[in-house]
Symmetry: C2
Subunit: 171 residues, 2 copies
Amino acid sequence: VQTPTQGRADPLVTGALERWERQGLTAEPWPFLAICSVSRLQQILTKALDAELSTFRISRTGYFLLTTLALITGGSARLSTLSRLISVHPTTVKLTIDQLETEGLVARRAHPRDRRTTLVEITESGLQCARATNEALTQPKTAPLDEMSELYEDLFRALQPVRTAAGDTDL
Amino acid sequence: VQTPTQGRADPLVTGALERWERQGLTAEPWPFLAICSVSRLQQILTKALDAELSTFRISRTGYFLLTTLALITGGSARLSTLSRLISVHPTTVKLTIDQLETEGLVARRAHPRDRRTTLVEITESGLQCARATNEALTQPKTAPLDEMSELYEDLFRALQPVRTAAGDTDL
C-alpha cells in the first residue's frame, strides 16, 4: 500500500482529522479511523452478500465453505480445518455443513487413513454452486456490490500487509 | 489504492490464484478473496481490541461510542445518531451507554430544544478515557496490535474508495 501524498485533500479524511484535532484528542487518529472503517466495511459486505446470495438458497457461511472446499485439491477437508480456514466457530460450521448436506452440495465420508475422522467432501452439485455463486459475485445484480465489483482486487491486495503483520497468512 | 505491478509475485496471492485456476473455478477470484480478507481482518481486530482495552474496563463498543462523542462539537448526540455513526444496533448502543453512565463516563440529559428527546453527553472522565484509550492504541502493548500500529493510516486510506463506492461516507 502506497500512502498517497495528496491523501490529506480527501474531504472524508480531512473532516475526521480536523475534528480530531479541534476536539483536543491528543493521540493518533489512525487506529480509531482504521478499525472503524474495517468494521463498517465488514457490515456493508455482510448485508450485501446476503442480498446477492438470496437467490442461491445458501448462506454466507455456506458460500465460504463451498468455495473453500472447491479450492482444496480433492475437494475434502475435516470440519476443524474448514473452521480454521474460514475463521468461523466449529459449531456454526457443523450446522452449515448439515444444511449443505441436506441440499446435496456436500457429503460426509470417513477419512481413508483414519476411519474415526470424518471428512466433508464437495459434490458435483456443490462445485456447480461454487462456480455459479462466484460468477454472480463477479457480475453482481444488487447494490452496493454492483458498485464495488471493480475494487475487489485492489481491496484484497491493500489488506495483505496488515493481515501479514497480524500473522494471518491463510487464504 | 494503487495496484502494485509486482503484486502477482506475492506468494499468498499467487497461491490462491493458482489454486483457483487449477481447481476449475471460472469466475474472478477477487470477490471471494477480498470479502474473506475483510472478514478475517475484522475478527483479528475485534479480538485484538478487546485484549488491548481490557485494562480500561470498557468494551469495544464503549470505546467506539466515547471516541465518537469526543469528536462531536459539544460532546453530545441522540442514541439513534450514535447507533448510525458507529453502525451498531440501537439496543446494543443503549446497553453500552447504560454501562458507560454507571462508570460516570457519559450522562443523559434532555435535548435543549426538544424535551422529549434524550441526549447522551460525554463527561470530563469520559473525555479522559477517550484520550487514554486512543493513546493506548497508538502505542499498543498487546499482540498483534503492536505489529499493526504503523499500518493504520494506509489501511484507512486504502478502504476509502470501496467504502465510498458502497455509499458509506460517515466518519
